[in-house]
């Protein structure tokens, strides 16, 4: 079995969000970069578990990014995976990324393509679906469990008001979320091994660029909290009812 896990480089969850160049560019000054948590904690760790259960499985990682993404790929490889691909281009939107990954996936004959449910920076939640659409593979979004039995995937996905267990043939694209696996911390052996794992840098294929970010905006700051004495919760109820009109 061949597995491809799609990973993104994102700012750390505690990063201060600011913009430069007249609010047209994300201010990367002082920002720590991480593997997108949805990709790492769920898609990648589950793929590693599947490989541990089936050592013959081949696990590849792929990202779209410039050379500053290399440390992030090495971080992911420290957790597991045999080799990685980096498409040498700026990841402009989910569609662009999906087109780049599809080009590699088409020749790679992967059985399972995994990605996180979204990135914590652009919150698109679209890349996995576009990838499945481009490859004409079945697509299961927001999966919370994944097992492989007799060359079939048994997947639990979140649906409105509950969950559904479904089975799908391979090849298959899955977007992973919480429940799929437990986050891991790389050990020293993994970190050392990651240094020598192959990292192939590929040039991008020509691709449609259908969206572009024109400007960023920060939310307007709250005007300040109105404090209510602890012994007067009925005053809070009055304010929520009469002033804020939300109850």
């Amino acid at each position: 079995m061949k597995i491809l896990v799609c990973i993104s480089k994102t700012p750390d969850t505690t990063a201060k969000i600011a913009f430069t160049d007249n609010n047209t560019k994300f201010d990367t000054n002082g920002v720590q970069w991480i593997v997108n948590p949805w990709d790492e904690w769920f898609a990648l760790v589950r793929a590693i578990e599947l490989k541990e259960a089936n050592p013959a499985a081949i696990l590849h990682l792929i990202t779209v990014g410039e050379s500053d993404a290399d440390p992030i790929i090495r971080k992911a490889l420290a957790l597991g995976g045999d080799e990685a691909f980096r498409i040498n281009a700026v990841a402009t939107d989910g569609q662009y990324v999906a087109e780049q990954i599809a080009a590699v996936a088409k020749t790679g004959n992967y059985d399972l393509l995994l990605t996180g449910k979204e990135t914590i920076d652009y919150n698109g939640s679209a890349m996995g679906g576009i990838l499945a659409g481009l490859l004409d593979y079945p697509y299961i979004s927001l999966a919370t469990k994944l097992d492989i039995q007799n060359n079939q995937a048994i997947v639990t996905r979140e649906i409105e008001g509950g969950e559904e267990i479904c089975e799908a043939p391979l090849p298959l694209v899955i977007s992973a979320q919480k429940g799929m696996a437990e986050a891991r911390i790389p050990n020293m052996r993994g970190i050392m091994a990651a240094r020598t794992k192959p990292l192939h840098v590929l040039e991008p294929v020509s691709s449609s660029n259908l969206t572009s970010i024109k400007q960023y905006h920060l939310p307007t700051a709250k005007s300040g909290v109105k404090l209510i004495p602890a012994d007067q919760p009925e005053e809070l109820v009055r304010l929520l009812h009469e002033e804020a009109k939300v109850i």
């Binding site: 914590i120 939640s125 659409g133 509950g162 559904e164 970010i213 709250k222 209510i228 009925e234």
Partner: protein, 320 residues
């Protein structure tokens, strides 16, 4: 030329978030002088002609007789085909579970640009530019779409439902949905829970509650407000509450009208998931809790004393 809205349904009922998307579509249709058309897939017990009330002119109904638990991937191909038949310029979904599944598949089918998590009506002065939430709610981005046709998903609770009056013409569609290669084995429903992303009021609690056995008073407060329950990440990680209640950067992002946070300090990752709430109330014994800076109303004090009194005061308001 038309705008096509996917009408999200659950258990045969059109969802509130779908009505929000219809309202969004009605405002956009007016600006573009186009027809507003909806599509429903599977059986539905609601009177679809009544959706005209929100500005929908026509509804196409695919697989009317089929009982569905949820959308499937190949629905997107049928929706795409209908969009082509109708020469739809814009295809709208809610940024819901079904929308997240179908919108990217449909945009690929249509070779259309896609923007998800849209929060405002587009700016049409120069092509089409939409505003979406990014960095898990810590910022917004204005995004230009360069394709002729576009697919948008609209964030729940970001566009209020408006009634304009009228009736929609309901037509059964002959479009065939290709068989999905994915087969359903079983479905488990969690009964009686309000959808967290759709809820207008959310009551949330954190580590300050000290243990899962103390959630009774939080549930009672939520019931008095018809609110959905949520929690912070440490609470979900400690298995005090189920993971699907975790709101924040690595949980669910929500934007209710009222968010009440009890015993949650307000770490930046938690705020990222809730700061689009219209009104935030924070109850915390620590006056230095960062959450107070993001709150509209606050009470500094012991949650175990305040929450039952607050519930009593709300019940009192409900009774009058």
């Amino acid at each position: 030329m038309s705008i096509l809205v996917y009408l999200d349904s659950a258990d045969g009922k059109i969802k509130k978030s779908a009505l929000e998307v219809i309202t969004y579509g009605a405002d956009l249709a007016k600006m573009k002088n186009e027809k507003l058309v909806g599509v429903v897939i599977g059986s539905c017990t609601d009177d679809l002609s009544q959706l005209g009330k929100y500005g929908l002119q026509e509804v196409y109904w695919i697989n009317k007789g089929e009982t569905r638990v949820s959308a499937q991937d190949t629905d997107a191909l049928a929706i795409g085909e209908l969009a082509e038949q109708l020469q739809a310029t814009t295809l709208l979904f809610s940024h819901s579970l079904n929308g997240k599944l179908l919108a990217p598949l449909a945009s690929t089918r249509l070779k259309a640009g896609i923007v998800t998590g849209v929060i405002e009506i587009p700016d049409l002065t120069n092509g089409i530019t939409v505003k979406k939430s990014v960095f898990s709610g810590k910022a917004y981005a204005s995004i230009e779409i360069k394709s002729n046709r576009c697919v948008l998903t609209i964030n729940p609770n970001s566009y209020s439902v408006k009634e304009v009056g009228g009736n929609a013409i309901v037509t059964e569609s002959t479009i065939q949905i290709p068989a999905s290669r994915i087969k359903s084995r079983s479905v488990q429903k969690i009964a009686g829970e309000l959808s967290l992303t759709e809820a207008t009021t959310v009551v949330s609690a954190g580590r300050g509650l000290k243990g899962p056995e103390n959630w009774g008073m939080v549930e009672e407060l939520a019931t008095s407000l018809h609110a959905a329950l949520a929690c912070s990440r440490p609470v979900a990680d400690a298995h005090w509450r189920p993971h699907h209640e975790h709101v924040g950067q690595t949980g669910i992002a929500i934007a209710p009208n009222l968010y009440i946070a009890i015993g949650i300090s307000g770490a930046i990752q938690h705020l990222a998931g809730v700061n689009r709430s219209k009104v935030i109330v924070v109850i915390n014994k620590d006056p230095e809790a960062p959450f107070f800076k993001a709150a509209d109303y606050g009470i500094v004090g012991d949650a175990f004393e305040i929450v039952p009194k607050l519930t009593a005061a709300i019940k009192n308001l409900n009774a009058n």
